[in-house]
Assembly symmetry: D2
Homo-oligomer: 411 residues x 4
């Protein structure tokens, strides 16, 4: 049986790369490089094969998956003309499963794209939830899916402080019932709808999504696994791999400066002070939690640089002190294509959370911390310790054999 | 009771920084930053306190420890005028324990420095061994040391291919007996002399030292621990911390270019093709063993750049492939002071091998792999796995409590 | 006869380096590297020898030149213990010529340093001008100086928009007479006092100084030369040397990102939004005027990074387009010691403006544009065209021989 | 009337980009960015329009221009599928004008590509010259060209020391007559053939080409202009733009390290020690001639890094000394596509040398020095002085109006 991926922000470039890449792998015209779930150790588990993934979702923009793929071909330039040609039929087919989306409190940039297509128009919050659940169920039934994993890949929402009502499910649910829209936003409505429906949820963005206490409660009650937040794709990945090296050598970090430039839609959205702030907070938090030294000067800045498109470039300057007070430096420049880095992780997360769901796990999936800048319910930010935790989980799961090789499709 | 460190190359800048740093810590005028052995986990063990370390050794150059410290103050500039003033008496005192050294087959640069001071002049190989052992014993007795750890910090020897006689202790011993000098070199004579005398040996350089099968045999027979080779201080450290990140994300490494520039005595010696080759081999080996991909283009070059002195600068360019065949890059520049990075590791190694000796361990100390570019008898090059191995050893040692807190001085 | 340099901000690190460097050159214990005025072409002119420069000035801080030199020794670490020892007498002597300074509207950081020492306390603006002129005249008489050049090296003032009264001398003078303090600031009061007294003025900072229309008028009326503003020492120097290369190749600049980090007192002052803005404006203006392309995305950010001290580090990322629309990148990192870069330029400017004064020149000295980020009255920002202009001036001056070799001291 | 460009190495990537780019400009589907000859000042001259350029040449490889364009689309990826489609007819047409080439002493890599197609097989040197001239004349006649400019874009030849016979035309001619093949190579045979036929010659490579005294003689005798050698496209361009900045500030250059990595056919050829040496010599010469300081440590290394293809990456590390002996650093990374940088310069050189030919100029064209790493007969390496010389030439030519606007086509 097949597993569905229902993507919030289905026409964004990360989503499009995930879809195009998976379909290309199905056809044998792309390699599996970049997929963590294809590492030998994980392949020993019975994770759902790429072949059995079915894509659908919603988006506030009015285009189709073929148009989205063409955009990706032009900007990061990582999909070729030939590949799109070969996948034309599949991409058009998938577009049929992409519905209108909700853009409630997503900020001006997103509202501008959405126009009046947003499903929140003319609906109360409860009605929006019902509509989302109707869309997901329709997708599940149309393709006779065993399970649908909902993934949030929409643009970062301008994040106010977390409303205190998000602390408990009861109060959060009341916000919906009473349609107190000012305190709600699209990502939490999608997370609520998914978990309530029994669908695992992956929050790949810095938005709230399911990464709030109220929805942790709901996930546990409904027995559904979820994970988040904010995919750790590039510069933060490097940071959380490098900082432990300095700590292991007992070198003192004096300053860690990070300057990021990017020019994709995400960058455009980040020009809104709120969105920028929440992104920067996630990026800084990782380092601060790793290096428990008050005197460390750590600074993250982001600038929108249109000509770079999706090719995010980051410069990090690390000032550290060694023996005899000697001050030394390391600097690095990271030039990565965000979509190409994020897309395979989305597929990995879907496969691993689908696996967890089959195992009957619920609530925060802490073994997935290595995929996130702000791992929900996990304090460890050291990438290698996070990765070791995943490997231990994999080994344990393999030993316990809760799902035998081949058993997957029978469940 | 005290532990002696008998340093081969005692007036080199790494040695000098280790000595000055340790003496400054004893006086409370320098911090312990950079010392791995001061990490809380290791401090739980009963490693010898800095306070109880006593320094001596040999050098082919005719200077004293005060002059060596002045050199370090001028070139890397990491020791202050004030600090040297405060340690004047101690440094002069230590000079008394520094004897003439052996420069057999150490290459032209070292021979040039040694002139006719080299103890190999007018002595057969057996007599050189006897002289070295006489020096070490005299040092041990003079200071009533519980144990002497011998550390090789001399300049890199021009390395021919390893003579096949190094494969077994029997044949190796015959080289000494028969005084077949062409196949011998200072580092192996020192290692032989130390192990034979029951002194733990640390080979911090890329030279053979004790890192040959013949001396592994000897170490086991004599029940002495040893470790090597080639301290992992800077760029290779970063490499072995970063490469695992790419592997954990299933990103394919296409090319890893490393260009190193340095201007210290080590750099001068590295201008000899042989020495350069052995250094580069160690640097390349680490990456090759980590990334088991034949198609990876990995290249290391080193240039002697006088104005940099001890401030080694390395540029690494990493070309990698991700999802959908996307090619991306990361590059870093490392600007580190070699002596300041190496010196504390020397103290760490002495303290940890002294601890192992007390525990009765012998032969290759695999838990110390994280300190070396070419860890003897260890295949793992992933820095974090190496470090985790050290932490496991520490924990195990702590649990087993073979030496209770406070027990150290009684043994 | 001798030329005096009266420095506003005499205990700042740029000033201190200029003083220490000049005194060390007088004693033959420092080289002339970094002094443009020592280039052979300029040496052909009869500029005042370093030997004949006499230092004085004012500062809001209560220290002396020896203390200031000790600070410089500690932070950027560019002056040695030995050098300070050798100059002890001279530095103490110079301190006698440093008076209390004015901190009117210099921002909180400077006011904090000044406390109630500021000479604006209890004085009207006119009285402040009188006091400044009294100080300068006293310095001139004490040392029987032929001429005093006043140089502004004080911290950057928080710059509001330029008051419209600065547009004409008449209105500006009325601000002083009427003591409208809110519209005045220390740098313009010093510039006014100097020019009015017939002293050439150099504005090395981004503050207004003499770089306003009102004071251009005054300089012309009094027949005094002046120059400014904002010394071009590091990253902006590189920018204005590199951008012309791209233009000469008809390569299209798409983006030029600059991220600067620094930790000196200047950086501290720059944390004030106003000061930061005026500094960034100067930095951006240079590039914008060079590259007349509206579509260029140019961005400058500055962060205060305490551990770096005076070692300003800048990362510039340049994205450009070539033939067939090919997009390429260049990036550079500049690690320079601000004081060591600025100090010799201060001496150069003093020598060249002193030379101009002798030649009877007045008003803006456009040939000095290559020294400034925002050259007053000059639109050309191409460093090499600016430098060629200086060389032409030098050649012309040499040919015209308005001051014969040796004539200098007779005038 | 039209001007022909006869390219030696017509299917190489630089040549292919020049051809595709020019044809695309003719069709209005590519911009003129990167063409120096399109700068407003030069456009005032009556240089031949892109529209009037006709392409032909020779190559040792058996492919056609369409195949060559496809290769360029795949590797540096700078030509799109759509562009090639649009130019299909033109590219096939141009292929008809590409003949077999000479690979005499071009090194193993080139010989390997040539197989037995090389026109030197079965021909004496004189016969090779006759064949080359026959080919060029046929091209000229077929298209009724007013003039044919011959451009050497072939792979770098392994350069032995220059034979002393190259010093005079008489001796050089005798090498040909006597068929002393060991002392001849393809590039000089092409240069000789072209100049002897009255065709201007451009030597864009580090090979000898026309950049030898014997052929300077010939060019003057025949009244033909020529220029060379070794196009200054990337890292050396930056070097010769930056070094003057340090000199203008009287900063002392201590070390300039350059490490270059590239993966194109040029890189493959450079793996031959001889070719590498001649390339490195050109790169080092520029800096050495600029900075006349014996103590400068300058070092250039090149490594062949296959995955980079035509995207040459260079890291330069500059160590310099300023005031008070302060040592500072600047480093840059250049990531440029060699073909995209070189191709427009080839068109520029053709247009400017064609212009010079019309003006009746002969011998070395010194005004073109800014285009070359080793400008023939020019000692000045400062890029901005070289560029200023070109601008002066342009201005002079404009004033003299030797060819009136519109006169070109009448000549």
């Amino acid at each position: 049986m097949k597993t569905g991926i229902w993507i919030v922000g289905a026409y964004g470039s990360v989503a499009t790369c995930a879809v195009v890449g998976a379909e290309a792998i199905k056809k044998g015209i792309a390699s599996r490089t970049g997929l963590v779930s294809e590492l030998p150790a994980i392949q020993e588990l019975d994770v759902v094969p790429i072949q059995d993934l079915v894509f659908g979702g919603c988006d506030v923009r009015a285009t189709d998956m073929l148009g989205a793929a063409e955009e990706v071909r032009r900007d990061p330039g990582i999909v070729s003309h030939e590949m799109i040609d070969a996948l034309r039929a599949e991409l058009l087919e998938i577009s049929r499963d992409v519905t209108a989306g909700c853009s409630l409190n997503c900020g001006e940039e997103v509202s501008g794209m959405a126009g009046d297509r947003g499903i929140e128009n003319g609906r109360t919050a409860s009605e929006v939830v019902a509509e989302i659940q109707r869309q997901i169920k329709a997708f599940r039934e149309r393709h006779r899916l065993q399970r649908v994993v909902v993934v949030n890949l929409a643009s970062t929402e301008a994040a106010p402080e977390m409303p205190r009502e998000y602390q408990s499910l009861k109060e959060f649910a009341r916000l919906i019932v009473e349609d107190r829209r000012k305190l709600l936003c699209a990502s939490v409505l999608y997370a609520y709808s998914a978990l309530d429906l029994g669908c695992p949820f992956v929050n790949f963005t810095p938005s709230f999504g399911s990464s709030i206490p109220a929805l942790e409660e709901l996930a546990v009650i409904r027995g559904v696994p979820h994970a988040g937040k904010d995919g750790k794709t590039g510069e933060t990945l490097v940071k959380t791999a490098l900082a432990p090296m300095f700590l292991a050598r007992n070198l003192r970090l004096l300053a860690w400066e990070s300057h990021n430039i990017l020019g994709n839609r995400d960058g455009l959205v980040l020009r809104q002070p709120g969105a920028n702030k929440s992104k920067i907070r996630d990026k800084e938090e990782a380092l601060k939690q790793l290096v428990k030294d008050e005197s460390l000067h750590s600074h993250v800045s982001i600038d929108y640089c249109p000509s770079l498109g999706d090719w995010k470039t980051a410069w990090d300057f690390i000032h550290f002190e060694g023996f005899l007070g000697t001050r030394m430096t390391m600097q690095f420049t990271w030039q990565g294509c965000d979509s190409a880095l994020a897309a395979p992780l989305v597929l990995d997360l879907v496969r691993l959370i689908d696996f967890a769901a089959r195992r009957g796990e619920s609530g925060a999936q802490k073994q997935l911390a290595c995929f996130f800048k702000s791992p929900w319910q996990v304090k460890e930010h050291d990438f290698f310790k996070q990765f070791a935790a995943l490997m231990e989980y994999v080994e344990r799961a393999h030993v316990e054999q809760p799902v035998g090789k081949g058993a997957r499709s029978e469940v």
